[in-house]
């Protein structure tokens, strides 16, 4: 315990000595100040402590959408953009030299010659490296918690869920950073490989997301086309039962059937092609850490509390929350293909699909990846002659 405590105190001193730690903290403070400047009154929403005011029928003091917006700004923009991107880049830069310096000649000798096992030393040092993010996010969340409490009149403890989520998210990347740092003993290599890995993850997840988007769009199109075909056939049957249809009607109906059938076949073919690519990419993303999904859990948990997420606002669902089938049934296939409702429905189904993945799977499988990378780094550390 004495040894672990000493390593943690040392890690704190190390962070304390880094200017980036304080710069990140200062920016976080500014973000909290700006976040706290958003307020709601009877007529709408104000920003920068009343400097700007936007009138809104739906987003104003006392409405549920005001809460959705305020919490959504935190979970989607502040956590999603600041903590999970900008602050994480600063954190990686700050912590990237921890292990290369730790295993440098003359430094590691002093530590390994103490009565502490290599594995225990490595684990403790690894955990202490997460202090940067842990401390930053904790301080940040306290600020946000106070803002939400003071602005919304509710003390939302869920805000603190960002602490483990962002820390775990960072730890996925940190494991790669530590592996490269331990193996190469080069801070620059560790930084470059970690950033490359992160952007690759981002690219993979983006590709997977776009494919899912296209796939859902194609499925919706096929559903709409099938309904169109049924409708055209039904109309044809109706007309045939009542009277002898004219040749012109028959020709127009036949052309309509051809157009819709061809479009449906094309969409089927496109869907098959998408499936061919989506499968392998899905397997790869299953094996890799789910950075976006991990951060996305915060939005999901807030939504479970509030019923709607900020995405619902973006889809324009404030006026009339949609039913499951409304979008498909409202239009025929042709209109649906280019309609705004199509995008809204795709977004809604994607959100539903994302929400269907359990938090245990998202975090568990990501931690599984981290455990493998960590294990490899620990093995190198324990076996190496320094």
């Amino acid at each position: 315990m004495t040894q672990a405590l000493a390593i943690f105190i040392d890690a704190y001193r190390e962070l304390n000595a880094r200017k980036l730690f304080w710069i990140t903290l200062a920016i976080s403070f500014l973000v909290v100040i700006v976040y706290g400047s958003i307020g709601f009154d009877e007529t709408g929403v104000s920003m920068m402590y009343g400097l700007w005011h936007v009138e809104s029928e739906f987003i104003r003091a006392g409405t549920p959408w005001a809460k959705v917006l305020y919490l959504g700004i935190f979970s989607e923009f502040i956590v999603g953009l600041w903590l999970a991107w900008a602050a994480t880049i600063l954190a990686i830069i700050s912590t990237t030299s921890i292990f290369p310096e730790f295993v440098a000649g003359g430094s590691i000798d002093l530590v390994l010659s103490k009565p502490i096992g290599r594995l225990r030393l490595f684990i403790t040092k690894y955990i202490s490296g997460l202090l940067f993010v842990l401390m930053q996010v904790t301080i940040f969340c306290v600020g946000v918690f106070l803002c939400v409490g003071l602005r919304m009149g509710e003390w939302r403890w869920m805000v603190f869920a960002a602490i483990p989520l962002v820390t775990v998210f960072f730890s996925y990347l940190y494991s790669v950073n530590v592996l490269v740092g331990t193996w190469s003993r080069s801070a620059l290599s560790a930084l470059l490989v970690t950033m490359l890995f992160w952007f690759s993850l981002f690219g993979m997840q983006l590709a997977e997301g776009l494919m899912t988007n296209f796939k859902i769009g194609a499925e919706l199109q096929i559903e709409a086309d099938e309904k169109s075909l049924q409708r055209i056939n039904a109309r044809m049957a109706e007309v045939s039962a009542a009277t002898q249809p004219s040749e012109a009607f028959k020709t127009r109906t036949s052309e309509q059937l051809d157009i819709v059938t061809q479009r449906k076949d094309k969409t089927h073919a496109a869907l098959a092609t998408l499936d061919r690519w989506h499968g392998p990419i899905g397997v790869i993303t299953d094996l890799l850490p789910k950075t976006d999904a991990t951060i996305g859990l915060l939005t999901r948990w807030f939504k479970e509390d509030e019923k709607y997420s900020i995405l619902a606002m973006v889809r324009g669902e404030m006026e009339s929350p949609p039913s499951e089938e409304a979008a498909v049934e409202a239009d025929d296939g042709e209109n649906f293909r280019s309609g705004r409702q199509r995008d809204a429905e795709v977004s809604r189904r994607m959100e539903k699909e994302t929400d269907a993945v359990s938090a245990w799977w998202i975090i568990g499988s990501s931690l599984g990846f981290e455990a493998v990378v960590f294990g490899l780094a620990a093995w190198i550390f324990c076996r190496r002659d320094f």
């Binding site: 000798d109 002093l110 390994l112 103490k114 096992g117 320094f386």
Partner: protein, 324 residues
């Protein structure tokens, strides 16, 4: 110097220590070495002889290919035993963001020194190494000599039974070197064992009870200075004129002509009694030889070192580094 120790009571007792690095560099080739408790032991050898590898194996920094033996009575590699060992590596690097005092506290905590003892111990050692005034300054501002002083203090924080120092006087000025020597002597007086790895032969000679010389991954020789030099001890007698005809008839006495018509007679013996008959014989010789000087000669550590690193067949220095 004499060291009181029970027979077989070794601080370090190594046998068959081997290390083969990847790339097939055979750094250690069956090293055997014994260090008695309470003595100052010096390890020397040319660059690449395997000294640092041997020290690092003892300190668990390097994994041996094979190692038998004990450190403070426990098998080499036994981690808890390192709590009784103080180690100062060569070119050690303390975290630059720590002050000297913080560094002492940090490494003491890693050595499991209880919290309440750390502060008092640090103060005492800072005073011992003359760093009290610099204790609250960041180590990044320290000179090389200051780093060595803090390094020495760090090795002693856990009140070790065995102190292993790798080039402790590297970069230290003469005053600092004397201070460090004094510390080593005090440690010995307290019954601690000191294992010293240094290139400064004269310093080792001043403080070490026993030495070992490593060459090409093996211990070439080890023992007390007396044991190692007894065969080389001799008397050199300088006389005026040529050597008498009876000189050289015996292996124990030989002559070396000098300039100015003088001759150096070399009598191989460490006993003063052995030289008396020779003096008498020179005086009684006709014509009598004038004795200009008589001096006992013993090999220095440098002589021993040079002898150890010289190939007896070719007379050339052995190639540096470990054998491949």
């Amino acid at each position: 110097m004499t060291v009181a120790h029970a027979n077989g009571d070794f601080a370090i007792d190594l046998r068959n220590v081997e290390k083969m690095y990847r790339g097939k560099v055979h750094a250690l080739r069956g090293v055997a070495m014994r260090v008695h408790r309470g003595e100052i032991f010096g390890l020397l050898g040319p660059n690449g002889a395997g000294k640092s590898t041997l020290v690092k194996i003892m300190m668990t920094v390097v994994h041996p290919t094979r190692a038998e033996g004990t450190l403070l009575g426990r098998p080499v590699g036994h981690k808890p035993t390192l709590g009784k060992v103080g180690y100062l590596p060569e070119h050690h690097r303390f975290p630059r963001y720590l002050t000297g005092r913080q560094a002492l506290g940090f490494y003491a905590a890693l050595a499991k020194v209880p919290g309440p003892h750390r502060k008092a111990r640090a103060e005492a050692l800072l005073a011992t190494v003359g760093m009290t005034d610099w204790a609250n300054k960041k180590v990044s501002s320290y000179s090389k000599g200051m780093m060595q002083r803090i390094g020495i203090a760090q090795t002693l924080m856990n009140e070790p039974d065995l102190v292993v120092l790798d080039e402790p006087t590297d970069g230290v000025d003469p005053v600092g070197r004397r201070d460090i020597r004094d510390v080593l002597v005090k440690l010995k007086e307290q019954g601690k064992t000191v294992f010293l790895n240094s290139h400064l032969l004269s310093e080792l000679e001043m403080v070490c009870d026993r030495v070992a010389i490593m060459v090409q991954g093996q211990v070439s020789m080890q023992g007390t200075m007396h044991e190692l030099t007894v065969d080389s001890q001799r008397y050199e007698i300088t006389i005026d004129g040529a050597a008498p005809e009876w000189v050289g008839m015996d292996d124990s006495l030989r002559a070396e002509p000098l300039a100015n018509d003088q001759t150096k007679l070399v009598l191989r013996s460490a006993e003063p009694g052995a030289v008396q008959p020779l003096i008498d014989r020179l005086r009684l010789h006709s014509p009598p030889r004038t004795i200009i000087s008589i001096r006992p000669v013993r090999e220095t550590l440098e002589d021993l070192f040079m002898r150890a690193v010289t190939d007896p067949l070719t007379g050339r220095s052995l190639a540096p580094g470990a054998k491949h």
